[in-house]
């Protein structure tokens, strides 16, 4: 393989940071992707993790998500996930209880709305 199998780019929506992830997440890159979130500024109110362009995610990716959640919790920042309906990663998230534990919606707008309250 040449080049990374996933990348993340950050976008600011007011007090919320939107992280768009694209590619596949496994034990070869999960930890590295997780370190990218140190860029989230302390004054951000929440992070929206946009996984709509993620085609594969396994237990290493799930650990990355839970580690991120815990780190944000610690700083009083909230986390929302965006997952495309019927996506290949839905099953992995469901098995790991992510929708119940963190909450997942289908669009970034819906995630932003859920943070309004």
């Amino acid at each position: 393989m040449t080049g990374p199998i996933a990348d993340v780019h950050f976008e600011r929506a007011g007090a919320v940071v939107v992280a768009h992830v694209q590619g596949e997440i496994d034990m070869s890159n999960a930890e590295y992707l997780g370190t990218a979130f140190s860029e989230v500024p302390p004054d951000a109110r929440a992070v929206i993790l946009d996984l709509r362009e993620v085609g594969y995610l396994d237990s290493a990716g799930l650990r990355m998500i839970y580690t991120l959640r815990n780190r944000l919790d610690h700083r009083g920042q909230r986390l929302r996930l965006v997952v495309a309906p019927g996506a290949a990663i839905t099953e992995a998230l469901r098995i790991a209880g992510v929708p119940q534990a963190i909450g997942a919606v289908e669009t970034v707008d819906a995630a932003l709305d859920s943070l309004e309250t």
Partner: protein, 134 residues
Amino acid sequence: MVVVRNLPIASEIQLRFPATPTVLVQIRQVLRRWLHAHDVGPEDVAAITLACGEACANAIEHAYGPGPASFELEGTYADGVVTLTVRDAGAWRTSRGDLDRGRGLMMIEATMDDVDVRSTETGTEIVMSRKVGS
């Protein structure tokens, strides 16, 4: 890459990979291509790819110690059932608070119909199968 379209689709795959995390993406590509060639539907492909990835990740984690390590992946498709075998030279690790591997086995058990983790004289063999729609 040369694609030869009029070859019969292999009912079996048998591959050996070096035990390093960067092979996982290649394994997924090979596996998906093989499953697509058998007209396996997207939901089954996603489930089997996940189970295979977890089993292979476990084999890679076993690869401690000096010298090059490798593991084997076998796949068979017969009577609408996909069976995968991942064979390595280590022991399945669930102890020492290894959350990823515990979760990995959970993924395999949730996505496959039958799962058998066997300790062999030389290592660990995981055999898993799933009935697929086509």
